[in-house]
Amino acid sequence: MKSAVIVFPASNCDRDAATALTQITGKPPAMVWHGDADVPGDTDLIVLPGGFSYGDYLRCGAMAAQSRIMRDVKAKADKGVAVLGICNGFQILTEAGLLPGVLLRNAGLKFVCRPVEMTVEESQSAFTRAYKKGERVRFPVAHGEGNYYADEATLDRLEGENRVAFRYIVNDNPNGAARNIAGILNEKRNVLGMMPHPERACDPQLGSTTGRPLFESLIQALA
C-alpha cells in the first residue's frame, strides 16, 4: 500500500502519521506539501493529518480546504482513492465538502487532550474491516473544536447508511458531538474523518495499540 501525508503550514501530526504508516505498512509515506499540485499518481491512501493548519484562521480547516493540493485530493477521492482525515484533517474534509457537517467549538469550551474510549460502529469499510462491530478502542483526542454538528436530517442519513464509523462511549463524549459521533464515512465509504488520533495508538509505548487495526484494515483493503 502506498500512502501520502499532506503537510499544511502548522500541521503537527504529520510525522506521527508518517511514523505509524512506516511501521505498519513497511514503507514511508510520500510527504506532500500543501502548495504542490499533485499527490503521487500511484497513491492508495491519502492522510490529512492533525494540527492547526493556517493557524485555524477564519474557521478551523477553512484555509487548508482551499489550498492547491486539495484540488487533487478531491479529484482522487472522487476516483475512489482512500482519504483519512484525522483531527484537523477531519475539519479540513468537512470544509472541503468531502464530508457532511462541521466541527464546532467543544461544548465545554476547553481544549481536550486525553485518551477516549470509543466503539467501532461499522466494520464494513476499508478503514475498519479489521475491527469487529461494537469493539471498544482507545485513541487520544487533542482538540478544541471537535464538536460534530449536522442537521437532524443529515445525522439520520449518516445513521441510516451506517456511515458513523466511531462513536464515543455514552457519558464520555469529550466535546459535545451530536449523537456521540467521533468519526464518519462519506457516501462512497472511501473517505473517513475522525477527531481521535488512531496514529497515536499504534505503539505499545503509547498506551494503546487499538489504532493499528485501522491501518491494517487499509492494507487488507488496498494492498
Binding site: L58, R59, V102, L104, R105, Y149, D151
Partner: protein, 80 residues
C-alpha cells in the same frame, strides 16, 4: 468600494463562546443580560465600482469561504 460582512451563527446552533461571554457579563454585574451570540466582522476593499456587481461578488465570497453556511449566516453592507 468597501464592503463589511457580518458572519454570525444561525439560530439554534450552539454558541459556547457567546454563552461564556454572557456568563462573564452577568458576573460583572450586568444583570439584565440574556442570551449572547457572537460573530465576526470582515472588512473588504474592492476595486469594483458597480454596487450590484460588488454585492454579487461578495455574496460569492461568503458562499465559498467567508461563511460556512451549514452553521453560519451572513449580511453584507456596501459603502462607496
Amino acid at each position: 468600494m468597501k464592503a463589511r460582512v457580518f458572519v454570525t451563527l444561525k439560530n439554534g446552533v450552539l454558541d459556547p463562546q457567546g454563552k461564556a461571554i454572557g456568563h462573564a457579563l452577568n458576573n460583572l454585574g450586568f444583570g439584565s443580560v440574556g442570551e449572547v451570540r457572537q460573530g465576526k466582522v470582515i472588512d473588504i476593499e474592492l476595486s469594483e465600482q458597480d454596487q450590484a456587481k460588488a454585492r454579487a461578488e461578495i455574496k460569492d465570497m461568503c458562499e465559498k469561504l467567508l461563511a460556512n453556511t451549514i452553521i453560519e449566516k451572513y449580511e453584507i453592507e456596501l459603502k462607496a
